[in-house]
């Protein structure tokens, strides 16, 4: 576990996360400023590597993290199921919207699945547009088996009326392809390889700000919101310090820092990155996804490339 209190050196806790570097660095910085003498050791990796690292930890003497900050509830749930994390949430969590709260973890940032389109391509008003002729052979989706955000989208569409898995079938028949991560999707659409892609808002806006010739659209019935939860490791030997950190991330100062770093906060009233006025937003039912994700993925892979 993280080096315990009373360890000769400065107190330190270990954070495992898959959240973007800019955000994490900012938040850690903010925490360390408000808590002098405390040091946060970071292990940051894409979800796949994060999970592998955790799996390896578990099989060699237990999780070596004090805090886990995941990018999607699903990953967190499996950790909870294995009794690796959870059992505590900060009081500050009450300020969060219901959907971000569970007894074991709380959502502290959101990823919005939106549509990005190459300049000059028609703007996708609705998700179903992507299955239309004007986007034939020019659409890319991130792989739900790799990117949890994409899995969230899959989970939502699979039982949204008017969509369902049939939506993916239509996309595929329309020549849509599957890329690995949302970022791959962004660079694909930016380079013009694709006309429109399903991706996450942050990286789409980032690319656009840097001058990539793309636009961002929040299509009907809505951008799919996938929240990134944070949780306390049960094995944490220095829970007091750890709890302070979690509380900080949930708190208004923490959320503000996070928002300024370019992530969407979960705390209402904290000004975050761009969300077009009146942009529709929807949320997947994670418990449902958790229960039948294997079936979902299998069906999906029947359609895409499998």
């Amino acid at each position: 576990g993280g080096s315990g209190a009373g360890g000769g050196s400065a107190d330190s806790i270990t954070l495992y996360t898959c959240v973007g570097d800019d955000t994490v660095q900012a938040v850690i910085g903010g925490f360390e400023d408000t808590h002098p003498g405390v040091q946060v050791d970071l292990f940051r990796a894409p979800t796949s590597d994060l999970n592998a690292r955790v799996a390896a930890d578990v099989r060699s003497g237990g999780l070596r993290a004090d805090v886990v900050w995941a990018c999607d509830p699903l990953t967190m749930r499996t950790l909870v199921d294995q009794k690796l994390v959870g059992g505590w949430t900060p009081d500050g969590a009450r300020a969060l919207a219901e959907r971000y709260r569970t007894p074991d973890y709380v959502g502290v940032a959101v990823l919005y699945i939106v549509a990005a389109y190459h300049d000059g391509a028609p703007v996708p008003r609705s998700w179903s547009d992507l299955a239309g002729p004007e986007y034939a052979d020019a659409v890319a989706l991130p792989d739900p088996a790799v990117a949890a955000s994409a899995l969230g989208a899959l989970g939502y569409f699979s039982n949204a009326d008017g969509y369902g898995l049939d939506y993916y079938r239509r996309l595929h028949d329309n020549g849509a392809v599957q890329v690995s991560t949302p970022d791959d999707a962004v660079s694909g659409v930016a380079s013009g390889t694709y006309q429109a892609v399903m991706t996450i808002a942050n990286s789409a806006y980032l690319a656009a700000d840097n001058g990539s010739p793309i636009g961002v659209s929040w299509p009907e019935p809505g951008a799919v919101g996938v929240y990134g939860p944070i949780a306390l490791a049960r094995s944490s030997t220095d829970s007091s310090l750890t709890k302070q950190f979690i509380s900080y991330v949930v708190s208004r100062p923490g959320q503000t820092t996070l928002a300024n770093a370019g992530s969407y906060p979960t705390l209402a009233g904290v000004p975050g990155p761009t969300i077009p006025a009146g942009a529709p937003i929807v949320y997947p039912d994670w418990s449902r996804i958790a229960s039948d994700q294997d079936q979902l993925l299998r069906d999906y892979q029947q359609i895409f490339g499998g």
Partner: protein, 545 residues
């Protein structure tokens, strides 16, 4: 020969111990732990794992791809080596360096650079309006893997050639009525067989475990390989079932490779070896130009433009533009990406990585040499197979295996990253040497022993120096690969042990192409600069060809 007098000596025994020890530490133990994990945790779900939809296709893809790439890359590399050996080739030295450039580019960036060069909206598309949509898909994966493997086979065969010049053998063929071509076919190439075998095994295994390129160019077209499957499973490996599935697949890959490599090493290998007779090599002829050389140079140049220049250009463009899709016109040029790569935060990571790579490469050169020498005895052969298994383990799996084995003690330290590099690259350092060592006539070692040299000294002073090219080749590959390795270190690093690749690539999601491109541009420069004197040294070291 007959029963060669076995004269080991204590020092020899020490070496044996060291090599065996390392092999056990970096390959056997981790593999064992993985097997154990699977045994303990697949509660009869093995069947389920194997019946995953699409797995069958992935397996077929993987092996067909590996065979195809080997079949094309090895002859190509051999041809390059033979061409670059001609003393009358114009701009020979330039070519020698250019051929190696693809090695310097991290695989996933390489994949990207090809898409940018030939894909839709790529360089060719925008300039001459000709795009190769197939670049995304099996075709692209195949071509890029070949391009990526050619430098390797070139290095190995070139090293084999350099290890021993035998002009009189070819002259004898010519004087027997053989044309240049027949002479090549019947004498030069057969004598290279051990080196060629070494190259083939490496390329085959390398393709089996290749991940980045299939991931970048294959997945969009639904072209899956075992490694991409493993990645998918790992992505959800927080769930034990998926984790075990991933490990199981990795072990299957290892097992099936073991079969192939054992077949190659134990059955075919010894047949390819021919005992040299130590005789005067024949006086070296002064170079005289022949017309063919110019055509050869032209062809080689063309190949390099297509496979190196254009993709590199695409990279440069991406590195200099602020974001993807921004036209790389001077107006849009920016140094942001380069700055991001070279900023203070990455600086000590860079130092660390260089140190790590230097250490790993040098250690590997020694280990490779030792193993190659031990390999002359029967027991050694088994070792060389074991070492090759380390290479075939997908990076992520290998990293997990090491974590499970040693994470408790050295998790998150540079030590464990070093172990990973050793496990992954040992075969690179070993095969070229063993391939070249086969050209050493037994009498030359005996002459050393009879001059008072111990077994070890004789190897150090007689066997290895002519192999300097081979060793250097191995060293170079290990160094560069370690330098831009990210799959393993991104999983192994901890506070204070971030490698350059981790900081630059992993820290920004891999999607941020600009920085990845800048990174490989920086790498290319950072490595080419020291590489040039290295090659000059190499040319002086090799017994003249």
């Amino acid at each position: 020969m007959a029963h060669p007098a076995t004269g080991g000596g204590p020092a020899h025994r020490v070496v044996t111990l060291v090599v065996v020890g390392f092999a056990a530490a970096v390959v056997v133990v981790p593999l064992g732990r993985l097997v154990l994990t699977v045994v303990q945790e697949t509660h009869g779900r093995l069947g389920a794992v194997l019946s995953t939809p699409g797995l069958g296709a992935a397996v077929v893809n993987t092996f067909v791809l590996a065979l195809a790439v080997t079949a094309v890359a090895v002859p190509a590399g051999l041809a390059t080596a033979l061409a670059l050996r001609r003393s009358d080739l114009p701009a020979r030295r330039l070519f020698r360096v250019a051929v190696l450039l693809p090695v310097l580019v991290p695989p996933f960036v390489l994949g990207y650079s090809w898409r940018q060069a030939y894909g839709r909206a790529g360089i060719t598309d925008t300039v001459v309006g000709a795009a190769w949509t197939g670049v995304q898909g099996s075709g692209g994966v195949f071509v890029v893997l070949v391009v990526n493997a050619v430098p390797l086979t070139y290095l190995l065969t070139a090293a084999g050639l350099a290890a021993r010049a035998e002009p009189d053998l070819v002259r004898a063929a010519r004087a027997s009525g053989a044309t240049t071509w027949i002479g090549l076919r019947t004498v030069t190439v057969p004598l290279l067989r051990p080196a060629i075998a070494a190259a083939s095994v490496l390329v085959f295994v390398l393709t089996l475990e290749s991940f980045a390129i299939p991931q970048v160019l294959g997945t969009p077209a639904g072209f899956k390989t075992v490694t991409t499957e493993i990645y998918t499973d790992l992505a959800r490996s927080a769930d034990p079932v998926s984790f075990v599935a991933a490990v199981t697949l990795a072990l299957l890959l290892v097992a099936s490779t073991a079969v192939v490599v054992v077949a190659a090493d134990v059955l075919v290998g010894p047949r390819l070896r021919v005992t040299r007779v130590s005789e005067a090599p024949g006086t070296t002829p002064p170079a005289n130009r022949s017309p063919g050389a110019r055509w050869l140079a032209a062809a080689l140049g063309g190949y390099l433009v297509l496979t190196v220049a254009l993709p590199m250009l695409a990279l440069l463009a991406a590195a200099l533009t602020p974001a993807v899709g921004v036209p790389p016109t001077p107006a849009n040029w920016t140094l942001d990406n380069l700055r991001a790569v070279l900023d203070t935060r990455t600086f000590d990571a860079m130092q660390r990585s260089f140190g790590l790579s230097l250490g790993a490469a040098s250690l590997l050169a020694v280990l490779g040499g030792c193993l190659a020498v031990l390999e002359r005895r029967r027991a050694g052969r088994a070792l060389s197979v074991v070492v090759t298994l380390g290479l075939v383990m997908p990076g992520s799996t290998l990293a997990v295996a090491l974590l499970i084995s040693y994470g408790r003690w050295i998790g998150g330290t540079t030590a464990i990253i070093l172990l990973a590099y050793l496990a992954k690259l040992w075969a690179f350092a070993h095969r070229p040497v063993s391939g070249a060592l086969d050209r050493l006539p037994p009498d030359e070692l005996r002459a050393a022993r009879a001059s008072g040299a111990t077994a070890l000294t004789s190897v150090r002073t007689i066997a290895l120096p002519p192999l300097a090219p081979a060793l250097l080749a191995g060293w170079l590959i290990c160094f560069v690969t370690a330098l831009h390795e990210v799959t393993m270190s991104s999983l192994l690093y901890g506070p204070g042990s971030e490698t350059l690749a981790v900081v630059v690539l992993n820290a920004q999601e891999l999607g941020r192409v600009g920085r990845s491109a800048a990174f490989s541009v920086v790498l290319t420069v950072a490595v080419t600069l020291p590489a040039v004197p290295l090659w000059v040294a190499l040319r002086r070291l090799r017994t003249r060809t």
